[in-house]
């Protein structure tokens, strides 16, 4: 068994050295495509942060002053619910202080100044309103009605800050997903072609191996291992790239004035690590698939 494992690694390494230019091309293509996949995830997460308060088609947010009493909150709740033909009562949500604080943690992830000002006690609570109408004028008149209620601190309308970002997010999502898919296919094809070339270079050896009774798996495994390594090394490079990119982005965002909203685009480092692990897994899988197909396809001697 040990002899077989040693053999597989020795052959993989030898083939790696023999096909250096093709190997480099396959590895770099995997790295670039995986980096794009990773960037897609980070950009999406940034937009999600920005849009978190508008999740679930929320169109209007009523902020209650931090010192509002339960009676004040109940009163506003009653006013909102008194218009069931305009407001979707089933989807009406009230975020109390802990819930609002948790949301702020995500929203202001990249804005430590803002976060330090907020505490679970001083944070405004909020009503999230889903409207049954898309009529902008009606929504604005609704907002004007709520604004004058006691202890209402402010009103924010989705269309004021949400729609541009939402459209931009959709566009960026589509472009990056399509590009990363195309590049992933290119990477798999390049790995496939590299393995095919490696097998062609060693066709005489493979022929002898088959004639002396080597099993197909014995012949295949070093090639599959080689493809898997192409993907994995590409994955490692893309992780390094993603890490650098994220660092540069965080540095750039820190330069913006607090409270501009750009800070929401900063992604927590735990999420970045998760994306990196995913990239390594996708890389290894793409490599194994590309080389697996090649190794099965060209083994008939």
């Amino acid at each position: 068994m040990l002899a077989r494992i040693a053999y597989a690694f020795r052959e993989t390494w030898a083939s790696f050295r023999r096909n250096l230019t093709l190997t480099a091309a396959a590895v770099l293509t995997s790295a670039v495509s995986l980096l794009l996949v990773g960037t897609t995830f980070l950009v999406q997460r940034g937009f999600d942060n920005l849009l978190v308060r508008w999740k679930g088609d929320v169109q209007l947010i009523v902020f209650m002053a931090p010192d509002a009493t339960p009676e004040n909150v109940a009163y506003v709740d009653g006013v909102i619910k008194s218009q069931p033909n305009v407001v979707d009562i089933d989807k009406l949500a009230y975020l109390d202080k802990p819930a609002s604080y948790a949301e702020a943690q995500q929203l202001f992830a990249g804005d430590p100044t803002m976060l330090s000002l907020l505490t679970p006690e001083t944070i405004p609570t909020q009503f999230k309103i889903v409207s049954l109408t898309d009529d902008s004028a009606l929504l604005r008149s609704l907002a004007d009605q709520y604004r004058i209620l006691p202890k209402v601190q402010g009103i924010t309308l989705a269309e004021d800050e949400f729609e541009v970002i939402s459209t931009l997010s959709g566009f960026v999502r589509t472009v990056t997903i399509v590009m990363s898919l195309v590049l992933l296919v290119v990477a798999v094809t390049l790995i496939w072609n590299t393995i095919r070339t490696a097998m062609f270079a060693r066709r005489r050896e493979i022929e002898v191996m088959k004639l002396v009774g080597a099993t197909n798996w014995f012949i295949r495994i070093p090639f599959m291992l080689e493809g898997l390594l192409h993907g994995l090394i590409g994955g490692v490079l893309s992780c390094a790239g993603l890490w650098g990119l994220n660092r540069a982005w965080q540095g750039g965002v820190a330069g913006f004035k607090p409270g501009t909203g750009v800070s929401s685009l900063v992604v927590p480092s735990g999420y970045v690590s998760g994306v990196m692990i995913l990239l390594l897994a996708i890389g290894a899988l793409a490599g194994a698939i590309g080389s697996g197909i090649a190794a099965s396809r060209f083994l008939d001697v």
Binding site: A3, R204, V212, G213, T215, F218
Partner: protein, 225 residues
């Protein structure tokens, strides 16, 4: 040991390589397959090692029908037979020792077995002391000896040789035949395809003659004609 029952092999739509061929080879036999180029000799050898499958008929090796054998069993069938070719099929980037060791390595033999069996087989084929040479540093006859050593190192039941003397001068060819005869005397069944009249007439072994894929003669202690 080897039995062919009404075997027919067709290439493409209508090129009949072998037509309705039947014969038996007993354990320990030495048999020549003779006939002009294109008569189907190599095809028969390829059918025996399951590199090809017949359109009709059955090929039996050591009691097993190789046509019905699942692909996963074919490597194990091939471990019971050695193959020798006219062009040697040696790996030019490996030394003599490594070429032979390779055959054991790929079937998972441990290193200590390889270190013991390779020198022994090199001694048998008369190449002791040349284990570190590369194939292109050897004569044609020596290269063929390496090829035979590789085929025999695993002590197979059967040795299939396809024109093993085809590229060699008569004297060297005779040396190779002596080696194959010695291997045969150790109990290995040998099937050799050739159109070398001189060697067939010299050896006086069983001769099966093919003509355009049809078996036209099966003779004990035969000559080429």
């Amino acid at each position: 040991m080897i039995r062919l029952d009404n075997v027919t092999k067709v290439y493409g739509a209508e090129t009949v390589a072998v037509r309705d061929v039947s014969f038996d080879i007993a354990k320990g036999d030495f048999m020549f397959l003779v006939g002009p180029s294109g008569s189907g000799k190599s095809t028969l050898l390829r059918l025996m090692s399951r590199q090809e499958r017949p359109e009709r008929g059955d090929v039996w090796i050591a009691g097993k029908n190789v046509n019905e054998m699942p692909d996963s069993r074919v490597p194990y069938l091939r471990r019971s037979m050695g193959n020798v070719f006219q062009d040697y099929k040696l790996l030019s980037n490996k030394t003599v020792f490594e070429n032979i060791a390779f055959a054991l390595e790929v079937i998972g033999k441990p290193r200590h077995v390889i270190n013991q069996q390779v020198p022994a087989v090199l001694e048998l084929v008369g190449l002791a002391g040349k284990e570190d040479r590369f194939p292109d540093q050897l004569s044609g006859g020596e290269q063929q000896r390496v090829s035979i050593a590789r085929a025999f190192v695993n002590r197979p039941l059967i040795l299939l040789a396809d024109e093993p003397t085809g590229n060699l001068d008569p004297a060297t060819g005779e040396g190779i035949m002596q080696l194959l005869e010695a291997i045969n005397r150790s109990g290995t069944t040998v099937v050799m395809a050739t159109h070398d009249h001189r060697i067939v007439n010299l050896m006086r072994k069983r001769v099966v003659q093919l003509d355009r894929g049809v078996l036209v003669r099966d003779q004990e202690r035969g000559v080429y004609e």
